[in-house]
Subunit: 150 residues, 2 copies
């Protein structure tokens, strides 16, 4: 990627390009385990002890129902999750992790942590603090813009 | 969104969540024109004067050929772009903007600029500089990690 400066690029582009790079990195790592970033993200979004209703997974992950269902089918085929009906509400499906799924969840978690730690080691704390401050402010600006729209 | 701090969240999550928020904002705005963010992004990626070969649009936008073709079909149906064969190479398809497409491109460009300007107005310059510095460093770390992988 070309060096990012305020002069050659808009801020939305920078955030998008960075997210795409992170996705590529995660997908490359996940492919070692015949998995994908979305698969790993789903495993991380399921409560490892109690499981999670499938209806709340999509909103939690911020993806559409059709995409979620594709990801869950893949995970079920690989024997990483299982679907069971809720005891309280037969219509509700609970996603829970298999033993293999729990193991993959731990591996994914380690990798995410490792990336996060590398960043914390290589970037001075006060600069990271400013980064978080700026990104919070950007999110506030977005909320304001979307409110005005309505 | 919950306030982002270094304590409650990893950096990949923050970047993803922010990108999703930007997408939502852009899609809401685009829907006013019966369009989508991807449609607007494609219009912005086409050279307004000479047009752009469809084969280079996907890489430029960072999306897969199938997604690109869906977006281009929508834009063609809305009479925003046209497809013509290249004069030099009959197999190559050139995407160019119609008059209506040029107008929509300008509107999209204005909206992106407006968002960028709001950020530059509301966030002090030195903080934004640090933000760009940190995000460059994050991209460097990703490149390093992906290199090691290979």
């Amino acid at each position: 990627m070309t060096k990012i400066t305020k002069e050659n690029i808009t801020i939305d582009y920078v955030i998008r390009a960075t997210w795409i790079s992170i996705q590529k990195m995660y997908n490359e790592e996940a492919s070692t385990f015949d998995s994908t970033m979305s698969g790993a993200f789903a495993l991380l979004s399921v409560d490892p002890k109690k499981g999670t209703p499938s209806s709340s997974l999509g909103p939690k992950m911020g993806i559409a129902a059709t995409s979620l269902s594709r990801v869950l089918n893949e995970l079920e085929k690989s024997n990483l999750i299982k679907r069971t009906s809720s005891l309280e509400d037969k219509r509700s499906i609970i996603i829970s992790l298999t033993k293999k799924g729990l193991k993959m969840r731990d591996i994914s978690k380690e990798y995410v942590k490792d990336f996060h730690n590398t960043i914390e080691e290589e970037i001075p704390k006060e600069k990271l603090d400013t980064f978080y401050e700026v990104i919070n402010k950007i999110n506030e600006i977005i909320i304001e813009k979307r409110k005005k729209k309505k």
